[in-house]
Amino acid sequence: MPRWGLVIDLDRCTGCEACVVACKHENNVPFSTPESAAEGRLMTWIQLVPAEVPGRTQPTPLPLMCQHCERPPCTDVCPTWATYLNPEGLVAQIYPRCIGCRYCTNACPYAVKVFDWTTPDWPDSMAPMMNPDVSLRPKGVVEKCTFCHHRLMQAREWAKTQGRELAPEDYVPACVQTCPAEAMTFGDLDDPHGSVAPLAESPRAFRWMADLGTRPKVVYLREGE
């Protein structure tokens, strides 16, 4: 079984935030205004944060999304199994199961889980642009990056209809597909011949807050060299 992982090359990242826009579109993430963001109500599954990273003295913009930890601090504390680590290593979130206690959001050291404070307000003009493959979240539940797992399900179905195994290039999250600088690479961390595993072994590779023992499956490549 593959172990999905994402490598982000900070040397290539221009900080254009195309990934942020792509993610919002792909996953029907509700709108936020500057006012609501100032109240801590920004809805986003990926955002650039000024992080202290190896090799840099200044904080560097770091594209931050759910790190899909191998040992996620958020899943242990969920009282209802609404968030759990699935066999393919994705940290899953079951919206109809979630009671909205926000324990997982508080246990996550990356602060990447967001809560639906209100029922999302979609402008009418947006209705035809919604992604029909991603369910809309009701108010009162926690949501976050899923590595676009709906794309994985589609890719698997597609491969099945063609009578073949799932190929690594069949499944790519929206942020990776969109990145104009090609800074993001997605694939199976356990496949030594794939594109991701060698990068994750690069001397430039680091996992953010690795000292916490969360073992993230998002790997960053630091700048330089």
């Binding site: 801590g40 609404a82 009671i99 050291p109 029922t119 108010k139």
Partner: protein, 434 residues
Amino acid sequence: MQRHDAIVEPVLTVGPSFKRWALALAAVVAWAGFAWIWQLVNGLGVTGLGRPVYWGLYITNFVFFIGVSHAGTLISAILRIVHAEWRRPITRMAEVITVLVLFFGVGNVLLDLGRPDRALNVIQHPHFRSPLLWDVSSITVYLACSSLYLYLPLIPDIAILRDRTSGWRRRFYGRLALGWTGAPQQWHRLERAIGVMAILVIPVAVSVHTVVSWVFAMTIQPMWHSTIFGPYFVVGAIFSGIAAIITAMVIVRRVYRLEAYLTPLHFNNLGILLLVMACLWFYFTFAEYLTTWYGHEPTEITVFDAKVSGPFAAYFWAMFVFCFVLPFTFLANPKTRTIAGTLVASISVNVGMWLERFTIVVPSLANPRAPIPGFVYAPSWVEWSLMAGCFAAFTLLYMGFTKLFPIVSIWELEAHETTVVPATGPNLLAEAES
């Protein structure tokens, strides 16, 4: 003239002042009910919460109320076990606090849920690795134990009321008295049951607040991930619990003219107990903060600074004054360890302990490891209204209890006065009829 009329009389009569207070408190509760419906309709967006401060007033209140619940049961159980005779008039009013306040502790968690309609998922799909489930288990057992522990010593008193009343009250007490006649065998069983419950309830009470602290301590968040949180919370709980008892005692004493029963001796003894807890609280707080400051671990010191000299400094230092400086000053001096003095100290401790819960919950959340943009958490009118509603509803229920049951245990006082071991049976029925 029957004995202890001073205790029985207020149970059976409702004065105009009671009605005025009940009406005012009911109005606050009704307003909170409106705020709650507002929140149910519009979602938690009506609170001041946001990312990363996902928990605020509700969780602070949850920890505070569960802490206060240690008042009764624990104190009365310990005093019962060590045969502290002076405890007799105060055990009941302490135990009632426990049972009632637990509902508001649990209630605040429900208020905090984004999907209260799915609360039962916790039972249908339980995940026992979650400290929240430990809470659910522990608090459920505690509520059952402390309710039983309140009810058992009530039975003989209910029988007294049954025999003195008529109409609905007689039927009501008749059912609750479980056929109590005061036979020696019944006394023997009751004493045994109370003895067993008194011992059983202590480890359960300790587990409750330990587990509440673990909701925070089991995460790896700065200044939550602390090994002393379990005992620290238990000490804080007993501390705020004693303060709640003293406050309730002063009010009950004044309102129901129980000066003969609640004497300066009680306030002096409880005051000393409160003083000891204040010193323990200081010790734990000092140990917790000194190790954090000395270690200077970057994420920890960020939260530390936010509390001690940053945006939460006002709360932090107010907490220190209310939890230690004021109560210590009043209680360490025998001249000020009067009824008024212990009341001032107790109110101060209750305010201080609420602030302590707040400065544990919010500053850690406001300063996460990840450098995401923050915001200043200010509770909304909905949160303040629901908090006021909880306090008002608690007071109202407590008042209601005093109109149904004697707030001072009659038979325990008599057992003490006649120095007859209850097992051999002081005939309360004969007493009541004479």
